[in-house]
């Protein structure tokens, strides 16, 4: 979140102009559900930013979502729980075209939450004693081996919401919520692609999933 700015409306073109070479981008979505497809398309077609680190549960699918950016050779590093859903991402790691950090999905989620929540690190029992804990600090807590995991933050987050009000409060539909609230909180600049923008007051205060404090730019989705 940038300091002192309410969410502003922007076009996808204006939005992706913020992405710089070397940026870390948090990309929401479980597979392509809840992914900001219009922003990803604009990033592929209207931006030349490269050497990107992408933090995303999957690296898109072949030729779809982040998969386009991968084919363009603009991804330098991926942080993910499941590269395997895009065979081209696996091939890119194996050929050395990109580097990879693999995390258990719960650790991946919790690390992004920690990044947004100002937590310096956390101990989890998940992955302790396995290949994925190699090189990380491990210790027994109450007799159970835990591994210390670091927070994850991004320069930019691409999130997708079904509805936003004009302030930038977000509401996610069904399982499209997934990583969106975590990523919205963990980036310096949070760009929300939304299906529908409603007047202030149209969302119930108890039902807002991401308060507008986390949202910098609102972009109308052209995905559906």
């Amino acid at each position: 979140m940038l300091p002192g700015m309410p969410a502003r409306r922007a076009t996808v073109t204006e939005a992706v102009a913020h992405i710089r070479d070397g940026d870390t981008i948090l990309c929401s979505g479980f597979g392509l559900v809840g992914a900001a497809m219009s922003l990803l398309e604009a990033l592929a077609t209207q931006s030349t930013a490269r050497d990107l680190t992408v933090v995303s549960n999957n690296i898109g699918e072949p030729g779809r979502g982040l998969g386009v950016l991968l084919r363009q050779g603009r991804i330098r590093h991926g942080i993910s729980s499941y590269f395997t859903s895009n065979p081209e991402a696996v091939a890119a790691v194996n050929s050395g075209a990109i580097t990879a950090t693999l995390l258990p999905q719960g650790t991946f989620s919790e690390a992004i939450r920690a990044g947004g929540a100002g937590i310096g690190g956390f101990f989890t029992p998940v992955g302790a004693g396995t290949l994925l804990a190699e090189g990380k600090e491990q210790r027994e807590i109450d007799g159970v081996l835990h591994v210390l995991e670091a927070p994850i933050r991004g320069d930019v987050a691409f999130v997708y919401a079904d509805r936003a009000d004009e302030l930038g409060n977000l509401w996610y539909r069904k399982t499209a919520r997934n990583f969106n609230p975590l990523m919205a909180a963990a980036a310096t600049l949070t760009i929300a692609e939304v299906r529908e923008i409603v007047p202030v007051g149209a969302l119930e205060g108890e039902s807002i999933h991401t308060p507008h404090i986390y949202v910098d730019l609102l972009v109308q989705s052209d995905d559906r």
Partner: protein, 213 residues
Amino acid sequence: MTADDARRAIAARAAAELKPGEFVNLGIGVPTMIPDYIPAGSEVFLHSENGIIGVGPRPAPDDVDPDLIDASKLPVTELPGVSFFDSADSFAMIRGGHVDVAVLGALQVSEAGDVANWAVPGRDVLGVGGAMDLVVGARRVIITMTHVTSSGEPKLVPECTYPLTARACVDVVITDLAVFRFVGGRLTLTELMPGATLDGVAAATSARYATAL
């Protein structure tokens, strides 16, 4: 028995392990067949780690909702009382011990209850998903798998040779030949599947185990 028959027999047997009121996470593969064998009204609540409790059956093609999927990324329906939550909350549920049962496939299970189910040495080690979280966090871990690999190698082994998912976390193993439980920490054959024999199980198992039918 065809391979599909074997898989269906495993799924049906696994379904019988689930008790009314339990919150259950079903992994990909054989576990996704389990809902077909849960009687209606049994009050088994299905959790999927992408952020839902109250998963219903697969929809008819015309009823697919693009925002409603399970952890296999396939369309599902929702049951009354459904709730949705984000991925951090979903894995808080799993890691925090709130999910009663996880049913997952495996590549190997050791006689100590270790499980290897995410990676094969020499192949790509690039996808783990929620497997580690589920076997560590769920109160009861049920492994469903064919008894041997496609080349006939035992999967119930003295020590896992594949990269571990977690140590000493398995409670029940259901294969096409038998049901095993860890009784007092010891791998124990407790039931033969229809058509299987004690000798057949012994020949197909390299792990040491007790027998208590």
